[in-house]
């Protein structure tokens, strides 16, 4: 038992910290800290900065241009990025598709797509969810019918995050309806510029445009864009979903969020003293902080087990559930801390203007974030699905 990092790990952390200090543009970290959207240009810029340093793909093997970092290094990197309010790296190409292509893609697909993920030439989005499927992902209906050397795709995807920026989408499509749900699914790469594709925005409850519907009408996709074998897509999809996600607990986000809450609660006054000194708020804050301290260790324990070669089992489900509960609780605390200033709607127009902010620093987006982050326990396998998984593994038998 040893709770401290090794000297090498600490040196690595210092290197990251130093890099971020020198290379993360101030206006970018301000925007992230204040919850403002970066737009495509902002994301592209940060992508390019990291690519230049060679730190864009922590989990990729070196042969494909990745860092091949250890789990602990990846965790440290993510933690430092959160602390510095660096933009989140858009995961669809780098974290999701990349590993699938590396494992299951053809040589041609690797050669063609992987470099363009790193260069930023391609912006990928994910075509998994469908309306009416929800947690029952395998019930998807989007159809791909073979027609010569093309598949003809018809159907609809939804909750496609940042699809409005993407020029490529990886899709699960049904290629056989006569077999068990999971056995008739294929994994297709589709150029978003193909005729027949329409992207329609979904406006979320906080007014943001993050997600989209993507409609396919007789979209012709070359067969060489099939990943692996036809009807084996479910295997690749599961690989992608369970592929080690060191940041599933979101510890870094939570720490940054908690720091922001404390900053606000130190200036916001209640009954003549700072809110942070009032007992009920202090109790809420302390409980979350205690939970987060434990979660950080839980996370490291699981990471270090993964580093020792033990596959994470139900642990990642546990991290997902508790991690999202903690993040949402911090969002709730931020909203509470803001007091009456939680009420204004800090829309882009309001925030973007020249007017000074309305409440204490950081209070602008708290309520919008509180509502937006309800998604954390819904998307990416809802917390109910995660609990089903935990129970199934530990109790045996079906749900």
């Amino acid at each position: 038992m040893d709770l401290s990092y090794t000297a090498e790990e600490l040196a690595f952390r210092d290197e990251v910290r130093d890099f971020l200090e020198k290379n993360l543009p101030q206006e970018m970290s301000d925007a992230v800290r204040d919850g403002r959207s970066l737009g495509k240009a902002g994301h592209d810029r940060w992508h390019a900065i990291l690519n230049e340093r060679g730190w864009l793909a922590p989990n990729w093997p070196r042969e494909f241009g990745g860092c091949e970092w250890s789990a602990v290094q990846r965790f440290l990197f993510e933690e430092e990025c959160c602390r510095a309010h660096a933009p989140r790296i858009v995961p669809f190409g780098l974290t999701m598709l990349g590993p699938v292509l590396q494992r299951f893609g053809s040589q041609d697909q690797k050669d063609r797509f992987l470099p363009r993920i790193l260069s930023g030439e391609d912006w990928w989005c994910q075509g998994y969810s469908e309306p009416g499927a929800g947690s029952d992902l395998a019930s998807l209906k989007t159809k791909a019918v073979r027609d010569g050397d093309h598949y003809v795709v018809n159907g609809q995807k939804t909750w496609t995050t940042l699809g409005q920026y993407a020029n490529w989408i990886f899709c699960l499509v049904r290629t056989d309806s006569t077999v068990k749900q999971q056995e008739g699914i294929s994994f297709l790469l589709i150029d978003m510029n193909t005729p027949g594709i329409e992207v329609r925005p979904i406006i979320l409850l906080d007014g943001t445009h993050e997600v989209n519907e993507v409609w396919f009408t007789d979209v012709r996709v070359p067969v060489e864009n099939l990943v692996g074998e036809e009807n084996k897509g479910w295997t690749y999809a599961k690989y992608l979903l369970t592929h080690e996600r060191t940041n599933i607990a979101g510890v870094g986000f939570s720490q940054a969020g908690l720091d922001a809450v404390k900053r606000m609660a130190r200036v916001e006054m209640s009954g003549g003293r700072p809110l942070i000194e009032t007992p009920h708020f202090a109790a809420r804050l302390a409980r979350v902080e205690i939970d987060l301290m434990a979660m950080a260790t839980t996370n490291l324990r699981i990471i270090s087990r993964a580093a020792a070669g033990q596959a994470p089992g139900v642990e990642s489900s546990m991290l997902k559930v508790k991690g999202t509960i903690i993040r949402q609780e911090i969002n709730d605390l931020a909203r509470r801390a803001a007091g009456i200033y939680a009420m204004p709607f800090a829309s882009e127009e309001v925030e973007g203007g020249n007017e000074p902010p309305i409440g204490p620093d950081g209070s602008g987006p708290v309520s919008a974030q509180y509502f937006n982050n309800r998604k954390l326990s819904i998307f990416g396998g809802s917390n109910e699905v995660q609990r089903n998984i935990i129970a199934k593994v530990k109790l045996g038998g079906g749900a």
Binding site: I202, L204, L205, S270, I340, M343, P344, F371, S377, R387
Partner: protein, 376 residues
């Protein structure tokens, strides 16, 4: 012991529910939210004509209600439909304060409020006051028969639409004394009143209001100098009863939408309402709804009581509803899944109303503190 609505209130409830369910659809409401004014003058006029504003005032004040259960009857329906129009600000707060403190000249405004052709706003919260009702730093200085107002008010709901702002200002005492607070009727167009408006997350609009050496006549004062706190506290209690009832109504809609969704939405080949884990969560929500209803009844029933008893029940109700409301808002979204995250779905707005109500006149923790202090 009788928990039935009177026939009059039952009629009011039916009328209002029918009107809103016909006219105040999700589409209509979302267009109102996106509009520049943040509310519909047309619907306001129609609702006033139906007597909704009058129901919030006593007969002596020119209305035909005004008691705790009149307020809950109206606001439960407003909450159920997610109404964003400023009934709280114009009627309960603005109109209510003029009615209880105003002289004969000033009372004329109440008639206009009840008729639906006057808007008011209470400019009371200040940047460092949070929810403390007694913390007033805007100063009022008398010189001759003029009063000079100076300072800043925060998150003044309905300020832009209001013809008059009712401004709390300090004429004496320390910064958090209850004594020394006065209220002034200030035309919004008065020179030196700077209104910077913005939309609210759950609909409607508010403003930061700066008073740069604003001069009003002494006749603008409501009641006697330095004694407004009692009336303010009474209206804050009434506002809390209204907010409790509004939240209760919104919770009814949230659970009802979820009930129907669970019955119809299919997953893994069966309605998701057949999954026991979801059933049990719904059961808990329904139980908390009953508790929220009881707490609202308790607060409404004690609104005309002595301040101590009134505030004890108000604090209890708002603390309970703060807890239950958060649970209902978060769980009904979770039980729906993604669809409830979209702006088009009714629950998205309803959940925002529930949660944002906790930020007016004291949140869950503030109410708990009050309750502890009052029950010591």
């Amino acid at each position: 012991m009788n928990f039935d609505l009177t026939e009059e209130r039952q009629m009011l409830q039916d009328t209002l529910r029918r009107f809103l369910s016909d006219r105040y659809t999700t589409d209509v409401r979302n267009r109102i939210i996106d509009s520049d004014t943040g509310f519909s003058t047309e619907l306001w006029a129609q609702l006033a004509e139906l007597g909704i504003v009058g129901a919030l005032f006593s007969e002596a004040q020119g209305g035909f209600g005004g008691a705790g259960f009149d307020i809950t009857t109206v606001f439960e329906e407003l909450g159920r439909a997610g109404v964003v129009e400023p009934f709280l600000d114009t009627a309960i707060l603005g109109g209510g304060l003029v009615a209880s403190l105003g002289n004969a000249d000033q009372q004329v405004l109440v008639e206009r409020v009840i008729a639906g052709d006057l808007h008011l706003a209470l400019a009371h919260s200040e940047p460092t006051a949070r929810y403390d009702l007694n913390r007033v730093m805007v100063s009022a200085t008398v010189s001759g028969d003029a009063v000079r107002l100076k300072g800043r008010k925060s998150v003044v709901v309905n300020a832009e639409a209001a013809e008059f702002l009712i401004v709390s200002a300090r004429e004496g005492g320390a910064v958090d004394d209850c004594d020394g607070i006065s209220l002034f009727l200030v035309p919004r167009e008065t020179a030196g009143v700077i209104v910077r408006g913005y939309p609210l997350l759950a609909g409607g609009r508010a403003a930061e209001v700066e008073f740069e050496d604003v001069v009003v006549p002494e006749s603008a004062r409501l009641g006697t100098a330095g004694t407004a706190y009692t009336a303010l506290a009474e209206r804050a209690a009434a506002a809390s009863v209204a907010l409790a009832a509004e939240t209760l109504g919104a919770m009814e809609t949230a659970t009802e939408l979820t009930r129907r969704y669970l019955q119809t939405r299919q997953q893994f080949g069966r309605p998701i309402g057949s999954f026991q884990a979801l059933q049990h969560r719904m059961a808990d929500l329904w139980i908390e709804m009953e508790q929220a209803r009881s707490a609202t009844i308790n607060a409404a029933g004690h609104l005309a009581d002595q301040p101590h008893m009134r505030d004890l029940h108000v604090a209890a109700a708002r603390n309970l509803i703060g807890r239950a409301g958060r649970l209902v808002a978060e769980d009904t979204i979770q039980l729906h899944g993604g669809i409830a995250m979209t702006r088009e779905y009714e629950l998205a707005h309803i959940a925002k109303r529930i949660v944002m109500a906790d930020h007016r006149f004291g949140d869950t923790d503030y109410q708990l503190e009050q309750f502890i202090a009052l029950s010591a």
